[in-house]
């Protein structure tokens, strides 16, 4: 069977490499569509008929380990499948402008890596054994590394890709160490052995080691620093799939571990606290930094970190709730977290695709050069609007549904007196995250799409091709579906959450199903009210004088578009509060207060993450110091070097005499 799998893989690679330049994308789309179709079929079969074992897929390579699809895998399979199809479809338009610049082999490699990434993510969530899991995990890392390297002639791309590769492998070492520990104690590296391990050995070390390993992929604070570097470097469709789906595989691992601790209440409680706390820190850190970024893709990358934090808050509340004996809190947290995984995979994919549309027309992702793009790219503007409202967790779209579930859990924690303080901490964090997300995304949307153009490139921008619009429409439909029919969307999620937590939660599900049914009516009512108000307004204005006049300049008549509020000034207030979290790097010089008639200035400020510099700096400093010592030995005189050689031989001699070597 292993041979067949290898043959199929080779056939796909040959097909992509041999296909004519313009048709490579269709080969990739076809393969991804088949994989996605299979994945969705498996997921549906598993959700309706129980766990599916794909026993024979990997016996030669991984011994007795199998691939199987259970409830949790099927959730991830569905989001991976949907995102993969959308992304590969999107890549056609995005890569088109590179077809002339890059060789055929380069393009083929890109598509091969893209297909490999999609398939390897599916394998990651299907493998039940540790070694097949690690194999797929590594395949996923390497594929995504190649994808980031698409524009390899840019130095920042190479640096980001290398940074990514190193960080991922540090995480990988932790994972390997974790699975080896598991294998040592239980004699099996299966996920199901974790439960056994937690019973016989000290559980926390294993949990923390694996948590760090998974957290590296998920972008957990302080291991998030690869995200804001890798996403601006990667092509947009790659950022879309990496941010929308790939970082979720880290969360998948965390959920798998939490699944293993059902019976040990004490442990569940501790782990719940760890997860909750890291979620709160990650979420707040991510969104505060996001609000200060002036690059679209960096902003989106930080917002992905924030969303990972939100998901972990949900998981933490679920664990703490279950440990406190409240099924309702546990189910609300778990359903909220699972639904947020799904939701985020849709709106973040869409936002990155929107950023890709802009980049392919403007050739930059710097917000402060944009403005007024809604007039040039109306369909992109509308689609991104949906994603913006959804990611700010505003009703009536899907982001609100998942956050509402988490809030219901937390408020129930508060009102029932279960773990009040943790619930309150989570409520504060989630509401602050929600508030700052509004700041960050109104900034993104307002500066990029609204107002007047800040550079002449905007006027030359046009709407992108229909394939890309279609690709963006796939997540858009899902956003609307979950947002407007939450009680339907929650059913499979609740089923999966029940399977994950293993608790009988009919009452809890009934409780929030009725809430979501009402929410559905109220959301529709909200849309209806808004539509009605608009209609009434239009009707009332019908016979009146509607004039067009310039924007009120407050008495100043020589306005130009450069005087608009910029992204930097929009988030200045936030920056004043959070300046301890960032490290600014400034290029150029700002206008001095004494300059009454300012001359031309170049001023570029970048807000870097302090963790980034902290983590980056200490080892650079250490290397420097080490180098200084080593450099003292390099005197440049031959007689000194001969002394060193002699010294070395003497040391070896002594060591041999003593018997150490």
């Amino acid at each position: 069977m292993y041979i067949y799998a290898l043959l199929v893989a080779l056939a796909v690679i040959f097909a992509i490499f041999l296909a004519p330049l313009r048709h490579k994308v269709w080969v990739a789309t076809g393969v991804t569509a088949i994989a996605a179709g299979t994945a969705i079929t498996l997921a549906v079969m598993s959700l309706t008929g129980g766990v599916i074992e794909l026993a024979h897929l990997s016996t030669e390579l991984f011994g007795s380990e199998t691939f199987k699809v259970d409830a949790l895998s099927s959730l991830f399979l569905v989001i991976i499948a949907l995102a993969s199809v959308a992304v590969v479809l999107y890549s056609r338009g995005y890569v088109e402008s590179y077809l002339k610049r890059f060789s055929s082999a380069h393009i083929s490699l890109h598509y091969t890596a893209l297909v490999t990434l999609c398939v390897s993510m599916m394998l990651v969530v299907m493998s039940s054994g540790g070694f097949s899991f690690l194999f797929s995990w590594e395949l996923m890392t390497i594929a995504s590394f190649l994808l980031i390297l698409f524009e390899a002639e840019r130095q920042d791309v190479r640096r980001a890709a290398l940074n990514y590769l190193v960080m991922m492998h540090i995480g990988f070492i932790f994972l390997v160490a974790g699975f080896v520990m598991l294998y040592n104690v239980t004699g099996s590296a299966n996920f199901s052995a974790i439960e056994q391990y937690f019973k016989i050995a000290a559980p926390l070390p294993l949990f923390i080691i694996l948590f760090i390993g998974f957290g590296m992929k998920a972008g957990l604070f302080p291991m998030h620093i690869w995200l804001p570097e890798a996403h601006p470097a990667a092509p947009s469709h790659v950022s879309a799939i990496m941010s929308g789906v790939m970082i979720k595989t880290g969360i998948y691992g965390v959920i798998r571990m939490m699944q293993a601790i059902d019976h040990n209440i004490e442990l569940l409680y501790t782990i719940g606290l760890i997860v909750l706390l890291s979620g709160i820190i990650t979420g707040l850190w991510g969104i505060i930094l996001a609000a200060m970024q002036n690059d679209i893709k960096r902003l989106l990358a930080y917002s992905s970190i924030e969303n990972v934090g939100v998901i972990l808050i949900g998981l933490g509340i679920a664990a703490v709730g279950h440990a406190a004996g409240s099924n309702l809190i546990g189910m609300c947290g778990m359903c909220g977290a699972l639904l947020h995984i799904v939701n985020h995979s849709f709106f973040k994919t869409m936002l990155f695709m929107g950023a890709g549309n802009i980049y392919s027309k403007m050739h930059t992702t710097t917000m402060n050069q944009m403005g007024g793009l809604a007039k040039q790219m109306p369909i992109t503007a509308i689609l991104v609007m949906f994603a913006t409202v959804a990611i700010c967790a505003l009703p009536p779209l899907n982001g609100f549904v998942s956050e509402l579930l988490m809030y219901i859990g937390m408020f129930n924690g508060v009102s029932d007196g279960h773990e009040v303080l943790y619930s309150v901490a989570a409520i504060i964090a989630l509401s602050l995250i929600g508030g700052i997300a509004v700041l960050a995304f109104t900034k993104l949307y307002g500066i990029v799409f609204l107002g007047s153009p800040r550079s002449h490139h905007v006027a030359e921008a046009t709407e992108v091709d229909n394939y890309r619009i279609c690709a963006m429409a796939i997540p858009a439909v899902m956003i609307l579906f979950i947002g407007l029919l939450p009680q339907v969307a929650i059913r499979p999620i609740a089923y999966i959450a029940e399977a994950v937590t293993g608790a009988d939660s009919v009452a809890a599900i009934d409780y929030f199903s009725s809430t979501l049914t009402t929410l559905c009516y109220v959301s529709w009512a909200l849309l209806l009210v808004i539509a009605l108000l608009y209609f009434v307004k239009r009707h009332a204005q019908r016979n009146r004088k509607i004039e067009t006049g310039p924007t009120w300049g407050c008495g100043f008549t020589a306005l130009n578009t450069r005087m608009q509020y910029t992204g930097e000034s929009y988030s200045e207030g936030m920056e004043n509060i959070a300046k301890t979290l960032i490290k600014n790097t400034v290029d150029g010089r700002s206008v001095d207060k004494s300059e009454i008639f300012p001359s031309k200035h170049n001023y570029d400020i970048k807000h870097k993450d302090k963790v980034d510099s902290l983590l980056g700096q200490w080892w650079v400093k250490m290397l420097h110091r080490l180098n200084e010592y080593v450099m003292r030995l390099r005197t440049g005189r031959v007689n000194n070097y001969i002394t060193f050689a002699l010294g070395f031989l003497v040391v070896v001699l002594i060591l041999t005499l003593v018997g150490i070597i």
Partner: protein
């Protein structure tokens, strides 16, 4: 059903009269004759009959935004009970829905302001977004305190069970009411955070975002502002009514007179904050609401032990 309708009508009355009370209080304290009690309604009526001027910079979003602003405020408004009356809409967790509806209305108006491409409106939008983000935790903690005392997560249930509360919680509930009134100051753009009467665009927050609106749109924004005021005023009044006299007439009267006079007095007696002080002011309220929640929690623990 009749009760629900009555609740909504009374809420509407509250929403319409708070601004009148504020104006009258200010006039009396300043020793002026002042404008009529209903003047703000006449003004809006006038705007509703006017045409409009739109900037060529704006997109369709600018025209939809007032509808979203008003629509979201209106939906939130329908969830608020007046003491023992029932609101039209209610479900488990509606306190969160209301908070996020207010957030939605804020997004609409902020984006509309950015749509005009004016630096002054951008300034207002940036401030509104920042203050909105900071005040969100205070709002949620205020609601969490109510949920903690009553054991429910919808307005209707909270205030219908709140009557059996222990009298020890009086002080805490009064403080909750205080927090909500301050949140109303912030959300409605009142002194000390913002001054609706100021005429310098550089220092305006809420008003500067609507500089380019006229006619029906402006009227919608004003109406939404009244509705939002009444939401916060009523929650605060309910929290007070719970401990003093839990009847609809008392709560409604308290919402109108209490908040109206409070705002009138504050606006007459003190100057607005320096803009840079606003964030500190809001964060103080957040800290205060955290303190209230913690005190309430400790009180409840003590009583039960």
């Amino acid at each position: 059903m009749l009760v629900k309708l009555f609740n909504t009508l009374l809420m509407l009355l509250v929403a319409l009269s708070i601004t009148g009370v504020i104006n009258r209080t200010r006039a009396i304290l300043a020793g002026r004759k002042g404008i009529r009690f209903m003047q703000h309604i006449y003004n809006v009526g006038l705007q509703l009959r006017k045409g409009a001027v739109y900037s060529p910079t704006t997109t369709i979003l600018f025209r939809i935004a007032p509808c979203v602003y008003l629509g979201a405020a209106l939906m939130a408004f329908l969830f608020i009970p007046i003491a023992d009356l029932e609101p039209i809409l209610s479900f488990h967790g509606d306190i969160i829905f209301v908070a996020y509806l207010l957030s939605l209305s804020r997004v609409a108006i902020v984006l509309a302001a950015l749509d005009t491409g004016s630096s002054f409106e951008g300034m207002g939008a940036a401030r509104e977004a920042l203050y909105g983000a900071l005040v969100e935790p205070a709002l949620m903690m205020g609601m969490a305190t109510l949920a903690l005392f009553c054991g429910y997560s919808s307005f209707a249930e909270i205030f219908s069970t709140a009557q059996e509360l222990n009298t020890n919680l009086t002080v805490v509930l009064l403080l909750v009411a205080y927090v909500f009134v301050i949140i109303m100051f912030i959300e409605a753009g009142r002194v000390p955070v913002d001054d609706p009467r100021t005429h310098l665009e550089l220092t305006m927050i809420h008003e500067v975002m609507c500089l380019d609106y006229s006619g029906v749109d402006m009227a919608m924004i004003h109406i939404a502002g009244w509705l939002k005021n009444s939401i916060f005023a009523m929650i605060a009044a309910n929290a007070v009514a719970v401990v003093i006299c839990f009847h609809w007439w008392f709560a409604a009267l308290l919402a109108v007179l209490g908040t109206g006079i409070a705002i009138g007095i504050v606006e007459s007696l003190r100057a607005r904050n320096k803009l840079v002080r606003n964030t500190t002011y809001i964060l103080t309220i957040v800290a205060m609401s955290a303190l209230v929640l913690l005190t309430g929690f400790l009180l409840i623990q003590n009583i039960e032990i």
